[in-house]
């Protein structure tokens, strides 16, 4: 038989590096694969925050991470939803939450029943039927599974202090016995499309059968390979700057991340246990870094203190995220602004596809082909979801927002918007991160009013429809009432089992 992959070197920085090293070691260590981590200098600023999707919790489970301990270490706060404000003139803020069910009630997606009801005079909004949204408004955490009978449950993401989180992961990797080398790369030895070995500035050499590039936008290995091509999405996304800063913590923690649009971009307000992280994402064409820093307190409506750091953002993806024996994960494979709380999810998605397609032999690695296909689809769906926020914006007479509305979009995204506008239906593609419900909340929140609905909804008589809708409304309200507040949740982290998180 041909030779197996025996050694993997993960080269990168910050949370993606540690997540990749830990995940590969955890799944393939027992199969005899040795993992080394090569730690490049961190790019994290003190104010940085990782805003995450609920999927991170499953990654933690996979890695055997003690969730409560991790949240304590990283000043973590649960997030039931994102709240989008000022994305259209005069429109109320809207929420995107993470309900586990697509909101099914009967055979059709719940939004279909809601659309029909809405047409008949139903006053409750779509968010009133989402456990995540109702919890977010009430400052509560939707612990699931809440009600197996009604099949209503929701998940939550986190806001985490980025440096503390990366440090805690590094500790985990160290405890698991993974060898860590730190330094800068002096040289990468290639043989055609394959990496043979790397040499650090300190003189250490690393050889492996498989290399993982987790170096973020530097793409430290990938960009040295012939055939690596970065495909920019700058034409679709105007923002090219991320500014991070801090404010004092909220007295009472909200259960959502606030994403407020302003004339040159958006500002994220991420509650943490000991401070509030602030992110401004904007286009340097419209606003200078100095101006942005100067105006941050006013725009965020919070007194900003301490260090404010600006970094560059170049959205896009590698045409081939796996070349030869080198696999890019996370931002190294696909770079996207953090609007939809996806930076860690991008890393996580790539890692899990890599584990699924872990090369059977150390030679040809035809797994690159399906990996590249799946990452392209995965990234493209996330980019579509992110861009949809911009396309649907209702801020007129502002160049940044005009341009965002007119930016080129994929046929897939246009098709999704058209179909939803026609009948309130979301046509999901393969490898979607965001559920039908996420898209629905986004489209309705973004102001789409569907012209019709699924014709099959007319088969249901008015009376059963009203009952179905009211029953769900009551069930959601009742469930939300019994959920702990964010403060209670955080306070109980010392004894997390007690509040039912396992």
């Amino acid at each position: 038989m041909t030779r197996r992959v025996e050694a993997v070197a993960v080269v990168g920085r910050d949370a993606p590096l540690w997540l990749a090293a830990a995940a590969i070691q955890r799944s393939l260590g027992p199969a005899g694969v040795r993992v080394q981590a090569v730690e490049l200098p961190s790019w994290l600023a003190s104010a940085d925050c990782y805003s995450t999707l609920p999927s991170l919790a499953s990654m933690h489970r996979l890695l055997g991470v003690d969730e409560a301990k991790m949240l304590r270490a990283a000043s973590g706060v649960p997030v039931a939803a994102q709240r989008f404000s000022n994305w259209a003139k005069g429109a109320p803020p809207y929420l995107i939450a993470y309900d586990d069910q697509a909101g099914e009630a009967g055979d059709l997606p719940f939004v279909q029943y809601w659309l029909k009801g809405h047409r008949e005079g139903l006053r409750a909004g779509i968010e009133d039927f989402s456990l995540g949204c109702v919890c977010a408004r009430a400052g509560r955490v939707p612990l699931g599974p809440a009600d197996t009978e009604a099949k209503i449950s929701a998940s939550y993401g986190y806001n985490l202090d980025a440096r503390d989180y990366a440090e805690a992961l590094k500790q985990l990797v160290t405890n698991r016995g993974i060898e860590i080398l730190s330094g800068r790369i002096a040289d990468v030895k290639l043989d055609g499309e394959r990496v043979i070995g790397i040499e650090l500035e300190g003189g250490e050499r690393v050889e492996a059968d498989l290399f993982v590039d987790a170096s973020g936008a530097e793409r430290v290995l990938m960009m040295r390979l012939p055939g690596a091509e970065f495909h920019s999405w700058r034409d679709r996304f105007s923002c090219d700057r991320v500014l991070t800063a801090s404010a004092t913590q909220f007295k009472s923690l909200p259960a959502f991340t606030q994403i407020s649009a302003f004339r040159g971009g958006w500002i994220g307000i991420h509650p943490l246990q000991d401070r509030t992280a602030i992110t401004a994402v904007y286009s340097s064409d419209g606003i200078s870094d100095q101006t942005m820093i100067a105006q941050l307190s006013v725009l965020a409506r919070l007194p900003v203190s301490g260090e404010a750091v600006v970094s560059e953002l170049k959205p896009g993806l590698l045409d081939r995220a796996w070349i030869g024996n080198c696999v890019a994960i996370g931002e190294a494979a696909v770079a996207m602004e953090p609007l939809a709380a996806i930076p860690l999810h991008l890393a996580q998605g790539c890692i899990s596809h890599l584990v699924t397609l872990f090369p059977a032999t150390a030679e040809e690695m035809p797994e690159a082909m399906p990996y590249n296909d799946v990452i392209r689809a995965f990234a493209s769906n996330i980019a579509d979801f992110t861009q949809a926020h911009y396309l649907l914006n209702g801020r007129f007479d502002e160049p940044f927002w005009e341009q965002s509305r007119e930016a080129p979009a994929t046929g897939t995204l246009r098709g999704k918007i058209d179909l939803f506008s026609a009948r309130g239906e979301v046509s999901l593609r393969d490898n979607e991160t965001f559920s039908e419900q996420n898209w629905t909340l986004l489209f309705l929140g973004g102001g789409i009013e569907p012209d019709g609905f699924d014709p099959r909804i007319d088969l249901l008589a008015d009376q059963p429809l009203i009952e179905l809708v009211q029953q769900r409304l009551r069930a959601v309200a009742e469930l939300a009432k019994n959920m702990p507040s964010v403060d209670q949740f955080v306070g109980a982290l010392g004894q997390l089992q007690a509040v039912g998180v396992s």
Binding site: M1, T2, G29, F358, A360, G415, P455
Partner: protein
């Protein structure tokens, strides 16, 4: 709403037409459904073999399975036996269902089995398939839904008489209000502005109007092609078979719970055992063998007495470029043809219908829905096409011109990618919408002689002892389960034997 579809017209009966009628009658209530068919136009109905998703179709219609088996003279099917495909004298089985059991490691069982093979284990992966074990012993039974962690359920499909199936669905549909109209369509009336079909005009001068039309008229595509010129993508360079000679024979004393596909000099021959007779046919490439030679070869190898003269059917492998144009979809032969080697004909009709129900349009038929439907149907056809081509391409046979051609022909990129991956790691990584999963691909490719070099590295994480214990435990459970099943013929006799009066072929 005013824009709702009220009248649906199905042009053409046969299996596709009546499947559509039944599914719509049940799942699109409140619509008037008319099916036009002519006694003069024969239907292409011979012994029909199906795959497990048909159970979902029966559920969609709310059909009682025993009744259905009784009324269609059906038998049960656990897979397909392929004879002489890899080389003359060689046999393998394409099993339905799963292999082994879920070991809860995130890695499919197949890879653990490959690991045991690579360390000198038994080369027969089907010792871990309940379906195969039962098929080999001529047994059949429905097993209770297994609790999580235990063995997977047994998967099965049916082998039935296509003409009685259509008749059965006709009774089902007519009871639910579908109106059957006898006669031939001679003209189609379109809206001058939109091009939508408004009505079809009949030979007797009457006309049938509708909001939506379903073309089940067979190869000629009365609406989809003759009205809309949807176009045909020809795949015959990959699948050169263009004819079939079919002949019924006397029933087998013990009908096998599987279909046999035997490779022949210029094609392959099916044997589909039904309760009352056995369907046989030889699918061939007319440029490699003559009709007469086929008839002789076919009749010479029947296992029972022939009940009729062989009937020759003609076709061409390929797909209608669009299955949905304006207010018309094509189902069955009018939307494409793939030889029945993997029993996919009925499934493709079913897929077209269920997708249509999912995409149920308003009268104006949103182009976004149409595009998406066409895209998904194209994918369905292509994925089945690739699977069938693999049977011909991956072989050791070079004993006739036909097999030399197949073995050396070029294949679609989508298939060669799958083969590359399979060789490397025992899996082809099907796309989410692929009809055939890794277990089917494994059965076929391994059966055709392609033994992969590697498997998923995660399968090495289990200790040898643990793996051997688990394999032995699963094998034992399969033997016990199959031991407890009745003989296939006994199972049929007990719960779903057909009435002897319905044996007209």
């Amino acid at each position: 709403m005013e824009s709702n579809i009220r009248d649906i017209v199905i042009v053409g009966g046969g299996t596709a037409g009546w499947m559509a009628a039944g599914a719509l009658a049940k799942n699109a209530p409140g619509r008037r459904i008319t099916l036009i068919e002519s006694e003069e136009i024969g239907t292409v109905g011979v012994g029909e073999s199906t795959i497990p998703p048909i159970i979902l179709f029966n559920q969609l219609l709310g059909i009682d399975e025993d009744e259905f088996v009784r009324e269609t003279n059906a038998t049960f099917k656990l897979g397909i036996e392929f004879v002489d495909w890899r080389r003359l004298g060689h046999k393998y089985f394409h099993n339905f269902g799963m292999l082994g059991a879920d070991l809860h490691t995130g890695v499919p069982f197949l890879h653990y089995w490959m690991r045991s093979l690579k360390s000198g284990g038994d080369p027969d992966q089907l010792r871990f398939s309940s379906e195969t074990e039962a098929a080999r012993r001529g047994k059949f039974g429905r097993v209770q839904r297994a609790p999580p962690g235990a063995q997977p359920n047994m998967h099965y499909a049916f082998q039935f008489d296509a003409s009685t199936y259509a008749a059965y669905l006709r009774r089902y549909s007519e009871r639910r209000g579908v109106v059957r109209k006898e006669g031939k369509v001679v003209n189609v009336r379109q809206n001058a502005e939109t091009g939508f079909i408004e009505a079809v005009e009949m030979q007797d001068g009457s006309s049938v109007r509708g909001d939506f039309f379903i073309d089940c008229s067979g190869f000629r595509g009365l609406l989809i092609e003759q009205v809309y010129q949807a176009g045909f993508e020809d795949w015959s360079h990959w699948l050169p078979n263009d004819r079939a000679a079919a002949v019924p024979a006397e029933r087998m004393a013990e009908p096998s719970p599987f279909t046999v596909a035997r490779a022949r000099e210029a094609g392959w021959q099916w044997r589909i055992p039904l309760q009352h007779r056995t369907g046989n046919g030889y699918v061939y490439s007319s440029s490699h063998i003559s009709d007469d030679e086929v008839a002789t070869a076919l009749l010479g190898t029947l296992e029972g007495k022939a009940l009729a003269d062989p009937k020759v059917l003609r076709f061409k492998a390929g797909r209608r470029r669009k299955s949905w144009v304006k207010n018309c979809i094509a189902l069955g032969l009018s939307s494409g043809f793939l030889e029945p080697l993997e029993s996919t004909s009925i499934h493709l009709v079913q897929a077209g219908i269920t997708k249509f129900l999912d995409f149920f349009p308003h009268r104006e038929c949103d182009p976004i829905l149409i595009d998406r439907y066409n895209e998904e149907m194209a994918f369905q056809y292509e994925t089945v096409r690739d699977f069938i081509i693999a049977h011909y391409k991956v072989t050791e046979r070079e004993d006739t011109e036909f097999w030399r051609y197949c073995r050396h022909m070029s294949i679609p990129d989508s298939l060669s990618d799958k083969l590359t991956l399979f060789r490397e790691r025992s899996e082809v990584k099907p796309y989410p919408g692929d009809l055939f999963g890794d277990i089917s691909w494994f059965a076929i490719l391994y059966g055709q002689g392609l033994t992969p070099e590697g498997y998923h590295p995660l399968a090495d994480a289990m200790s040898d002892d643990d793996l051997q214990l688990r394999l032995a435990g699963i094998r034992k459970a399969i033997m016990e389960r199959v031991e407890a099943l009745p003989a296939h013929s006994e199972f049929i006799r007990r719960c779903c034997a057909a009435q002897p009066v319905t044996t007209a072929a």
